[in-house]
């Protein structure tokens, strides 16, 4: 056994010796003739500046710009995605009830509030959360609006409408007749809220029927309504959204009567 190991070792040594001999037989390479001159020229130029080794790894030097590009591209891509309107529906849906009014308005066609064109409202004040405007706004704004239902009675649409309907903030469409904002009440709507049906006659608003609390308070058909809460009632009179009719002055058979609902 030992003899075999020694034989293998000798064989290996012989192989190594052959390699060593082969390497030793390689021709030697000499320095070029101008070697000294070049060295002296380099020395004359001064101390060689150390090659600046960047602490930043090569991989990172390539990866960092790539990541930044991806981030920028992702940002714009994300915005582009929102610009296509894919998120409009959920954002609008989150904004809560569209226009809740404090008064219970009967659903009859006659007294239902007229739908207000969205574009006109948007023109009055920018932050209206309708589909058209949300589609054009950056992603951040609808998200913020959706998270801030500040009023208990409604969402941002309600707030925007209220903003548009501040006193003196009447929207004009270029025609002579003013557009009544949705959150104000016309005379008919105000009367309807009190249970009164009336028609405009030469002498004023004539009651055609009275029901509910108006009838209970003693209002009768044929009464001419002169004032509501002390406010004279004309053809184009509007009432504030928080209107709650409580006091009426009517003329019955030429006699003025005060009726409290």
């Amino acid at each position: 056994m030992l003899r075999e190991e020694k034989r293998l070792q000798d064989f290996a040594d012989a192989g190594e010796e052959k390699v060593a001999a082969m390497l030793g037989s390689l021709k030697r390479v000499d320095a070029p003739a101008d070697f000294d001159f070049r060295v002296r020229a380099r020395i004359a130029q001064g101390r060689p500046a150390e090659k600046r080794v960047s602490w930043f790894p090569t991989f990172a030097r390539v990866a960092a710009p790539a990541v930044m590009l991806a981030a920028v591209g992702g940002y714009f891509g994300y915005n582009a995605l929102y610009d296509t309107g894919t998120v409009n529906v959920p954002v609008v849906a989150d904004s809560g009830p569209v226009a809740p009014a404090p008064l219970v308005v009967p659903t009859s066609n006659e007294v239902a509030p007229a739908p207000v064109p969205t574009t006109e409202v948007a023109a009055a004040k920018p932050p209206v959360n309708t589909e058209e405007t949300v589609a054009g706004t950056p992603k951040k704004e609808p998200t913020t609006v959706a998270k801030k239902p500040e009023t208990p009675e409604g969402g941002s649409v309600d707030m925007a409408l209220r903003e548009a309907n501040r006193p003196g903030n009447v929207v004009s469409t270029g025609n002579s007749s003013p557009v009544i904002p949705t959150s104000t009440l016309s005379v008919r709507e105000a009367f309807s809220a009190m249970g009164i049906r009336a028609s405009l006659s030469a002498s004023g608003w004539r009651v055609s029927s009275a029901s509910g609390r108006a009838a209970a308070a003693g209002l009768k058909t044929g009464d001419i309504i002169e004032t509501v809460n002390g406010k004279a009632v004309g053809a184009n009179t509007v009432f504030d959204e928080k209107f709650s009719g409580s006091t009426l002055r009517v003329k019955r058979d030429g006699v003025a009567i005060q009726i409290s609902l």
Binding site: A12, G15, E16, K18, V19, A20, M22, L23, G24, L26, K27, R28, V29, D30, A31, P32, F35, D36, F37, R38, V39, R40, A41, R42, I43, A44, R47, P48, T58, V62
Partner: protein, 210 residues
Amino acid sequence: MAFDMAGSSGTEAKRSAMPDQKLSDHQLIEATKAGDEAAFGEIMNRYRSPITNYLYRFLNDYEEAVDLAQETFVRVYFAIDRYHTGFAFSTYIYRIATNLAISEIRRRKRRKLLSLTGLFQSEDDTQVEFQPADTRPIADAELVDDERSKMIGKAIAALPEKYRIPVVLRDIDGRTYEEIAEIMQLGLGTTKSRISRGRGLLKEKLQHYL
């Protein structure tokens, strides 16, 4: 210690000032420190070819070897004040050359990593450093024309650094084991083991030439 370019002009006065070639390396270093430029010339005269040959066998690229050999002497010159004669100058200069060669190899590897051509290398070339074609005139045409030498050079260049350095120093440059251990800053046993292992790898690669 500004270097005078006229030192290489070979005037009679300079020749007479040439140091005795019998002076030891340490004496020449001391003379160089004292401002004797001719002493540094003698150091270059003694080591330029061995260092060039060592770097050539290490890198398998003559031009690069010459460039790094020159850089080695420039570094020796500028660091000569810090050199202590506590150990052999040959060890010192070979260590500088080795470090430069290792840096060069790593730089090549980084280049290779970034090079798209690396993607198209065949499996046979995987262990060979990527080298762009060199169209310049070849300094030693006889050597390069020798197919056997080329194959041996490729085989050496394909060795891992830790085996390549000691094998080249031992079998091509003829350094002693002790010198090699000092240059590589390794123990004597480790050095011998690496030389043996390196030879074994070369033997496998060069079976046809043995």
